[in-house]
Symmetry: C2
Subunit: 165 residues, 2 copies
């Protein structure tokens, strides 16, 4: 694994996210599939994040997406695990499953295998759920597995920060 993926400095937006949530007395949880814990790792590199970050789940299997986040098996079958619908259900399910005010969820294909013409490697859906908020966004990233994970985490944290405004 590359040094910069693990040792990287937390993006500026993480400090802003933590400050906003702390100021508002709100909590955050994460629900990750293709980013595989990287978002949680980046958040928890910041001392004091435990004031606002309750924790998260890495629901790599479909079974765990249903068990921990309540993602509907029908949605998983009909739309596929990498879909806007599943990202939304993961984020909404994390609000309840983790007991938090805001939740950030991602599902995608980090590669190098698992891609199809319709759903290529690098396709990622990310969703934010919060008070009166449910936002989903689609990305297609280029690069190797670690690069796609990193781009996913950075874009997801940016989406979360933008959702507060």
């Amino acid at each position: 694994m590359e040094l910069n993926t693990i040792l990287m400095e937390a993006p500026t937006c993480i400090a802003r996210i933590i400050a906003y949530l702390r100021n508002q007395h709100l909590t955050l949880g994460t629900a990750e599939s293709c980013s595989g814990g990287l978002i949680a790792h980046m958040l928890t590199n910041v001392s004091g994040v435990s004031d606002v970050y309750e924790g998260g789940v890495v629901t790599y299997s479909n079974a765990l997406k249903s068990k921990l986040l309540g993602v509907s098996e029908t949605t998983l079958i009909r739309e596929g695990a990498v879909s806007a619908a599943v990202a939304q259900e993961m984020a909404a399910g994390a609000l309840e499953g983790l007991g938090v005010d805001w939740a950030l969820a991602v599902t995608g294909i980090a590669g190098p295998s698992g891609g199809t013409p319709e759903k290529p490697v690098g396709l990622v859906y990310m969703a934010v759920a919060g008070p009166d908020t449910l936002i989903v966004r689609r990305h297609v990233f280029n690069g190797n597995r670690e690069s796609i994970k990193l781009q996913t985490a950075e874009a997801a944290l940016t989406l979360l920060w933008e959702s507060f405004k």
Copy 2:
């Protein structure tokens, strides 16, 4: 142990873990507190890990340790979140909560704040639960927050590998 050594060794250990579990048709889950998702991140940097890795939880708060892993509130109060008893309950709870054959759990103090004379920064308990197995180990690591997270992840993955033998 130097940081570079840790980064060199971890992937080799992970490849062995994945190969063993795949060969035995067994699954793995993780339950992380102080490592904050880094173990999940390191595992999911390896393509094909989804054959054996169902996923994990990052139970940063005590509430999530109880909710997702069934850690007893009495144990949390009596022993503290950073204790051998909580590490064992996290690992045992992950077997059921994640529906896996093997579980790796860590709880500790990554610092720089949160240390006490009895429980200093760098104190980490890690536990492995599996078929006829429940192992717990105590470490005290030196270094900054990110270094302690890295040393925790490396030692935990090594403990898991050793537990298979």
